[in-house]
């Protein structure tokens, strides 16, 4: 599991994260939601090591990987071999083909000849596009390649940032099925999305961020009990309305 402890981050005059405490449970899909500017992206980037927190720590399966107590130097990056990341915008070097991209990332990960997960590749029917330069592909197709890459090396933790943005309904359904299947296989997901139906379908747990703090963290059942709303969209809207009054949700979840 992932434990985030008192994580703080400041960008110039802005306190983006003001002490985030959050536990992400293994084998579940945790949706990180919240209003714009709540710190969702920064939190995800901190987990990936892209943004450096000013204070606090992130622990993966009990071992510090970011912040206080995390290893330095070469050992500091090893944990990312367990993470697959699907960024919101897929911009690749334009001359590169998908096949070359996969090979390049495999080399960087030091991924052995172990089994690759190419289920999405087949279900998205991308075989014909593998050798074309990525610039010749549509935005949606590039986004599919992006998704394939995140799952390909069978990471234990997947971080998906607005995964279905730019995908057509069929592809979006394929991706959601894939998330459900891999979750059932024991993989852990961190998901951000503005599409409520998607969260409704996928999220087991919800972490609700407001102004750099966790205003609510817990299962959907807990969220329902707290807000009295059966549907996730209503429940989250309820949280957003109540957002200025903080604290109650976080305690209820603990």
């Amino acid at each position: 599991m992932i434990e985030i402890r008192s994580l703080t981050k400041r960008f110039g005059p802005v306190d983006v994260l003001r002490g985030v405490d959050l536990t992400i449970r293994p084998g579940r899909v945790t949706a990180v939601v919240g209003p714009n500017g709540a710190g969702k992206t920064t939190l995800i980037k901190a987990i990936l090591g892209l943004a450096r927190p000013d204070g606090g720590a992130i622990l993966l399966d009990g071992a510090p990987v970011v912040g206080d107590g995390a290893p330095r130097g070469d050992a500091a990056v090893a944990y990312r071999a367990r993470i697959g990341y699907m960024p919101q915008i897929a911009r690749f070097p334009e001359q590169l083909s998908a096949r070359a991209l996969f090979a390049f990332v495999a080399e960087l990960r030091g991924a052995g000849a172990g089994a690759r997960d190419d289920e999405l590749l087949e279900r998205f029917d991308l075989a014909a596009h593998l050798d074309k330069p990525l610039r010749a592909l549509s935005g949606g197709t590039r986004q599919k390649i992006n998704a394939v890459l995140a799952f390909r090396f069978r990471p234990a933790l997947l971080v998906l940032d607005e995964p279905t943005a730019g995908l057509d309904p069929l592809s979006s359904a394929i991706l959601k099925d894939k998330v459900s299947a891999e979750r059932a296989a024991g993989r852990t997901f961190i998901l951000t999305s503005h599409v409520m139906s998607e969260l409704e379908e996928l999220a087991d747990d919800v972490a609700f961020l407001v102004e750099g703090r966790v205003a609510f963290a817990g299962s959907r059942e807990q969220l329902q009990t707290l807000t009295g709303q059966a549907r996730l969209e209503r429940a989250i809207a309820h949280l957003m309305l109540r957002a200025p009054i903080r604290g109650a949700g976080a305690e209820a979840a603990a």
């Binding site: 599991m1 992932i2 434990e3 981050k9 960008f11 536990t23 449970r25 293994p26 084998g27 579940r28 980037k45 990936l48 090591g49 892209l50 943004a51 450096r52 993966l60 399966d61 009990g62 130097g73 070469d74 500091a76 990056v77 090893a78 944990y79 990312r80 071999a81 367990r82 993470i83 990341y85 960024p87 915008i89 897929a90 911009r91 690749f92 070097p93 001359q95 590169l96 390049f104 990332v105 080399e107 960087l108 990960r109 030091g110 991924a111 052995g112 172990g114 089994a115 690759r116 090396f153 069978r154 990471p155 234990a156 933790l157 971080v159 296989a185 024991g186 993989r187 852990t188």
Partner: protein
């Protein structure tokens, strides 16, 4: 320990995130050297298809060929080339470098989310840009000399010094471009800063030095001017090159002073050493900025 306690509360889920079939952690992680080499190879391959790089090489090819054809003799062609090189290489290194890095930012983020260290990634990205640019210049200038033939042996040495200075300037200004691109979030601002640095070092610097000398004409200014020359890599390269031509008048004011203080060998060694420092400092600063950046 917390993972253990959780497994008792939620039996349906695995205790730890890593308790799933996964091939990545078991495989040997690549060393930083391997990562840098892979990123470098990727950069070179990516640029090999770039029309900009091809155009850059062609530009030097055409200019060199024209100078050799119509400029009358290899020596004079080289002298004319020096001025082209001193203007164009810093400009292209800065502008192309800044643009390239801003354009590949999202992909750099994707690479950083892999288990690769930032130092190794920086080395790969930097060399993957600087080496192809330097090679395009060397090939572009070298080929016309190859088919027109080099006159005296001294000319060959001069050509070598030109290639070395061009490569060093490429390295320096690509490093400065990295520093600018890492520090500036906005592409247009980064580009503006890059052009500003070029204007300052390539055009304004010598003029300002000359102005200062005119203002302080009654004082002994030669030593301060010497220091100022060491502070500008373009001036250093100019001195290194023009020491080979015995034409101090073409060296700008700082160059002329320099040749009066140092004879050829000592001066060349000093200028080359200063150029090496100029290469090391921006690279180190760029690497540090890249290591601590929030993407």
């Amino acid at each position: 320990m917390t993972a253990l306690s959780l497994s008792t509360t939620s039996a349906a889920t695995s205790a730890a995130i890593s308790d799933v079939p996964s091939d990545s952690p078991s495989a040997a992680p690549p060393t930083p050297g391997t990562v840098a080499a892979q990123v470098l190879r990727h950069g070179v391959r990516n640029l090999a298809h770039s029309r900009w790089l091809l155009g850059y090489a062609l530009f030097f090819l055409l200019v060199t060929d024209a100078l050799l054809r119509f400029g009358g003799g290899g020596g004079r062609a080289l002298l004319s080339l020096v001025n082209v090189v001193l203007f164009v290489i810093p400009l292209v290194g800065l502008v192309f470098g800044t643009t390239y890095l801003h354009d590949t930012r999202e992909f750099t983020e994707l690479l950083l989310a892999q288990p690769v260290g930032r130092g190794a990634l920086f080395a790969g990205l930097y060399l993957g840009l600087a080496l192809p640019l330097a090679l395009a210049f060397v090939v572009g200038v070298g080929l016309p000399f190859a088919w027109h033939g080099v006159g005296a042996a001294g000319e060959l040495v001069t050509l070598g010094v030109l290639a070395g200075c061009g490569a060093a300037l490429t390295g320096i200004f690509v490093a400065l471009a990295f520093l600018i691109a890492v520090r500036s979030e906005d592409k247009v601002r980064g580009l503006g800063l890059a052009v500003g640095v070029w204007l300052a070092l390539a055009l304004l610097y010598d003029g300002l030095v000359l102005l200062g000398v005119a203002l302080f004409a009654d004082h002994p200014v030669e030593r301060p001017v010497l220091g100022l020359m060491l502070a500008n890599p373009i001036d250093l390269a100019r001195v290194l090159l023009l020491l080979r031509f015995d034409s101090g008048a073409l060296m700008g004011y700082t160059g002329a002073v320099f040749t009066r203080f140092f004879d050829g060998t000592l001066g060349a060694a000093l200028a080359a050493g200063a150029l090496a420092v100029w290469l090391a400092v921006p690279v180190a600063l760029g690497a540090r900025a890249f290591r601590t950046k929030d993407f």
